[in-house]
Symmetry: C2
Subunit: 159 residues, 2 copies
């Protein structure tokens, strides 16, 4: 595995993960109605850190292989939408808007997983936790949006 390539993918993940840090759940999130199967708070950063290490490994592993373009394009796509999700959910408190972002995010992670498996078994396997997690996260987003129909989005023009 090319360690410099791994470092560039990991840097991209740091960018995506930074939205979670600058738009943290905070007190507002605690007040929301959540389904009984909501994971405890500490699970989220641990899971994301693991996922980011695994998908950086996957990107670096297939990077040198012929025909990796689709896998890496889907990799890039998930990075943009993963970065977009936190500011919309935790920043603007737009629960349905965030759920809308889950659609291209899920598609990109699914696309990356399928393409990675066609190139390399271990790279594909490294994307499986991400695909599992983003499915759980989308279901959680949908439940939270349904259970909290009266959340008022943040209107930045009035701040």
């Amino acid at each position: 595995m090319d360690i410099f390539l791994f470092a560039i993918f990991l840097a991209a993940c740091v960018g995506a993960g930074a939205t979670g840090a600058v738009f943290p759940p905070g007190e507002w999130y605690k007040t929301l109605n959540k389904p009984s199967w909501t994971p405890p708070d500490w699970v989220f950063p641990v899971t994301w850190t693991t996922i980011y290490l695994l998908i950086s490994f996957a990107g670096a592993r297939v990077g040198g292989l012929e025909g990796s373009a689709y896998a890496l394009a889907f990799w890039a796509m998930q990075g943009a939408f993963a970065t977009l999700w936190s500011p919309v959910f935790f920043g603007l408190r737009r629960l349905k808007g965030a759920l809308l972002i889950m659609v291209p995010l899920w598609i990109s992670v699914f696309g990356a997983t399928v393409c990675m498996f066609q190139l390399d078994f271990w790279a594909g396997l490294a994307f499986v936790p991400y695909l599992t997690w983003i499915t759980v996260a989308a279901a959680l987003n949908a439940s939270v949006a349904r259970l909290n129909p009266n959340v008022v989005p943040v209107d930045l023009s009035k701040v």
Copy 2:
């Protein structure tokens, strides 16, 4: 050029561009002190749309080439940090925080441009407007941060 590959890269750009739409400049931005060379407002969406089309073309063009991994990894990295910038600047109003994001963003665009040129002249050329613009945008961010030292960041925990 592979049109499906172009579409995936463009979808990633839609994700990145969406932050500009959900975190628009608004009235607050108008009140900021800006340097005399600040481009008029209409320039920003036009420039970004052009850049996103050009870099999607570049990604799709080099995707099939051997040794494109670094170019595509830098492509993914710019996508995450470009998405991160708007919510921090326009959402949280953290002018210095946004300037900090400009560092990895500029590095990733520079890295992508250099790597693209090594693979294909037209792909490299397609990244030049982005490198130029991100340099201007970083300088503008720095000037605005310097000219508006008393901007109060948005504290989401108090909204």
